[in-house]
């Protein structure tokens, strides 16, 4: 007599799922360089699965905007020009600004409390080792606000859409010194606005926050 005491519902995880996640990780972390070609046969032997699985994974990577495919030619890891990166941040400004506004409207007090806890943790990390924050912390912060907006379409668009692309460039470019603490302060201000249910302010602060990041990147690339 077994099981059924375990989890009632769990998404089945296929071989394609695992392979997709592995390759995505490799791309985001830079193990597979941006602009490089994704050979199906090569990946097939490397991950020990058939080409069908690889093709499935590549398709999903294309959905995340991490990969571009040409018929009869193959797939390459996307490589944004500086202009393309700016364009991406413009979209973030719009979409995450909206997310912040909706988060101010829709987040529960529990979720807001958790958000404050997250900020406390980040404050510690920044004091101790300035590096952690920029990589995982910032992403995590934005991630929670996105989830807090409660608009499923928007969540899908950001989380399994463009967000991994942002992460990829975040890893590659990093944040420079002074930006770390100012970004943290901006986060605090955003949470404060959300806590006060000030939708307009939350949106405005989030847009400005992302705009600063954009400028920071633009300077780095110029």
């Amino acid at each position: 007599m077994t099981l059924n005491y375990t989890k009632p519902i769990e998404q089945a995880i296929t071989s394609s799922d695992k392979t997709f996640l592995s390759i995505r990780y490799a791309i985001v972390e830079g193990d597979i360089a941006s602009g490089s070609k994704l050979s199906e046969t090569e990946l097939s032997t490397k991950y020990g699965v058939s080409r069908a699985v690889i093709r499935e994974a590549i398709n999903r990577l294309e959905t995340c905007h991490l990969v571009e495919r040409k018929a009869n030619v193959g797939a390459r890891v996307v490589s944004l020009t500086p202009d393309g990166l700016i364009e991406l941040y413009q979209i973030r400004e719009s979409l995450e600004g909206m997310a912040a506004r909706l988060a101010a409207k829709n987040m529960t007090s529990e979720e807001i409390a958790e958000l404050n806890q997250l900020l406390d943790i980040h404050a510690e990390k920044v004091k101790q080792e300035g590096s952690y924050y920029q990589e995982a912390g910032d992403v995590d912060f934005h991630y929670r606000i996105i989830l807090g907006c409660k608009n499923k379409q928007l969540i899908s668009l950001l989380v399994d859409g463009i967000y991994h692309l942002v992460r990829m460039y975040r890893v590659q470019l990093g944040m420079s010194g002074p930006r770390i603490t100012t970004a943290f302060d901006e986060h605090k201000a955003i949470v404060s606005a959300i806590q006060n249910k000030d939708e307009e302010l939350a949106e405005m602060l989030m847009r400005r926050h992302i705009m600063y990041s954009k400028n920071n990147i633009a300077n780095k690339l110029a």
Copy 2:
């Protein structure tokens, strides 16, 4: 009436491409009902191609947000709840508002002239047969403004992202009588703002225009 939204391609067209386009058309036009299941074997015989081709097509349909897949279970045509549809229009407000603003900044005078020509044609159509406009014309108008924004990321997100989903519901719900002419006037105002390079006004008018559509739909569903 067929609108060809594909750019002039010199790309190779594979069997998967054709099948994808066929099925997408069937879904958008309602030939395949929303919520219905997409059986791989069934489609395979229907379109006379292998299951691999069908799977490829379904993957791309998933990328357009027209289809949802569950592992080991299969794919269904997406079926938005009224709330989901409202959420979708909220996103349009944000993204197309941004597109309008950028269009005011970046569209060439040639493109603006073509846009005016399009409106003239629409004016004729509305007089003659009030029906054409709502289906293809409105979509075409929005389409041109999206292309005019010149932000490739945004264009990709809208054109091969959520826009076919919008078209699908446009076909299913249609526009009611008085809305047709008011929508046309709103289009004229938007073009006027773009012509004057008034970015803020263009964004504001576009957002309002979509908000009106949203309300129109919300009333219809209530």
